[in-house]
Amino acid sequence: MKKTVAIICFVLAAGVLGYWAMDGQHMANQFKTLKVTTVEDPFGEDEKKKVWVEEFHLGLMDGALPAALGLMGLGAAFLFFEHRSRRKA
């Protein structure tokens, strides 16, 4: 049982890092994203308007890495307890 939980923790940690890699590989959490749209300005010219929109992207330093390390630590702890209970038995 403990071994299964440990494996789940390691898989989740890999999943978090994989999600971060697929989500733009931001170093810090990005709570808003700058969206660029081309609009016609009052001069009748195309203008790039940049607007912040609520869109979360996971950051490595303050999101993915602490979560992955936490999960890996938990997994390691479960493996340790599993190992200890086997030795006791």
Binding site: Q30, T33, P42, E47, K49
Partner: protein
Amino acid sequence: MKRNTAVLKWAKLAAVVVTSSALFAGSAFAQLAVKAKGVQKVELSDAISKNQISWLSDAPMEKIKGTAPNVTGSFTMNPADMKAVTGTVSVPVKGMKTGNPIRDRHLMGKDWLDAKQFPNITFKITSVTAARVSGQKANLTVVGAFTCHGVTKTITAPVEVTWKEASAKTARAPGDWIKIKTSFTIKLADYKVAGKAGVVGNKVGDTIKIDGTLYGHTVR
């Protein structure tokens, strides 16, 4: 021999024509095709469209996009001589956004832009070295004093000025409308913005690309 002398004469004539054309293009022809006469005072206004400065830090480890709202500024422009443009643009450091409130706070802090001690980033035009005018649009090469983090450096920036004459469609802001567009790069080290050790050059770019699209109107 005679033929050579004739060719030399024509070459000299061509050189004179090219030189004078270039001189005219740089001065007398720097005139916008608008009705306004004399020196016009122009003030930036969000009533026309939102004045926006955006910037990009493109470092090996991270690309950070930012914006700076609440841009203020005023200019003097003479449509008959766009080489005589003067003016100042000011951007408050406090309103800058990067999409992460913690990073925004760091940006305002002492290690970076130090918003408390240096609340504004300014650009003051000192001269216009080249002006290419076509109809109601002028492409200028502007030299100015860029002040950031308390350090002032002379920089050169390309600036596109578009003039729109007052009409029924421009009623929401007074006078003629002016659009000013620019894009240039600054080096953080030039302005003594060092950040935390090892960050500049890795997570934050050595240079910052600044883009601005500003709208203003003439003041009578």
